[in-house]
Amino acid sequence: MINKIVTTMAEAMAGIRDGSTVLIGGFGSVGQPDALIEALIEQGASGLTCVANNAGTGHAGLARLMELGRVRKIICSFPRSAGSTVFEELYRLGKIELEIVPQGTMAERMRAAGAGVPAFYTATSVGTPLARGKEEREFNGRRYVMEHALNADVALVEAWEGDRWGNLAYRASGQNFNAVMATAAELTIAQVSRIRELGEIQPEHVHTPGIFVNRVIHVDRGPDWA
């Protein structure tokens, strides 16, 4: 019997190696896999490249991981936000590498990774400093830059519900980067607020089919649907 549900964070984090590229889902606080990030801090892997929309805030979660010196590089669209002091300090000291990617390009690069597309063209960033060093090419009279797939070793995502085959469904704006990142990593680990029996998530309503998910762990995130 297939059973992707694990019951301890140690099982959830097993095998994450130093030097891994780790995708961290969520947008703002919605769908942010907080418990998994804490578990990764506990687990100990270092020299990580982290991909997330923001570069962490305060001193918990991703910010804490950076503060502990475990993050070599961060790939994100919006590093500076309220409370991103840990990142800013490390960056000023040259202790962390930064790759700025437009938000849509970041999403599309991970979608490409999941879809077997090694590179694609986009109009986003053409004519701006972020296109520097990138190959440009004209199609139908408009200029585009080439962008590469962003494959990862690990994805940490949060969904509303999941089952033992790894099927996930999200609530409201919780799909965000989670549903994309789940497709782009070798090892996708999901924290879900509800564990469902097989078939309880209607097949038309599965957002992330189980083929993209390796481990599911229960982390309750509050009350049911309004």
Partner: protein, 214 residues
Amino acid sequence: MQPFSRGQMAAKLAGDIPEGWFVNLGIGIPTMVADHVPADREVILHSENGVLGMGPAPAADKVDPWLINAGKQPVTLRKGGSYFHHADSFSIIRGGHLDLCVLGAFEVAENGDIANWATSENDTAPAVGGAMDLAAGAKRLWVMMEHTTKDGRPKLVERCGYPLTAPGAVSRIYTNLGIFEVVKGQGFVVREMAPGVSFEELQAKSGAKLHRPA
């Protein structure tokens, strides 16, 4: 001289959005546009984080912790709204499906160039977010901003000095002093001036030649 208030700018812009348009409102002042769409007009608001059909902010006791906008504020969803993931959301943006995006800006040039994300070529960790995707992807880009910086420098310019967000993207600008079309091969054409503002004053506060409407 009676410059438009931010509410007036938002109302002017909202009044120019036809029923049925799909619109993304950037973080900051543009967000105010949502509150000024006429009640009898259906305009469908998009948010980068996977929301179509956004409604107003919820009452404090009705906040759904799973529903925010791109500015990370709690919002609501209108009947007929839908959710999707980031790649699909940016397909909507980059695939040219939005009728309109409204952004704030540091500078807009007379060729439609917009600079709104970084204040220096050497800014080492600027935050771009979805601005470049929106500026390059939407069918129309309108800018909503103060006419000058706090220290009085013009934001309508011949060429942007700040790093670009996208070249040649802006087609209309709403400022506290007036409304401007960006016309290819011509530049800034004044469509409306705030009450008591003269063309000469407006020109004096702008860094590029203004044109009277034909």
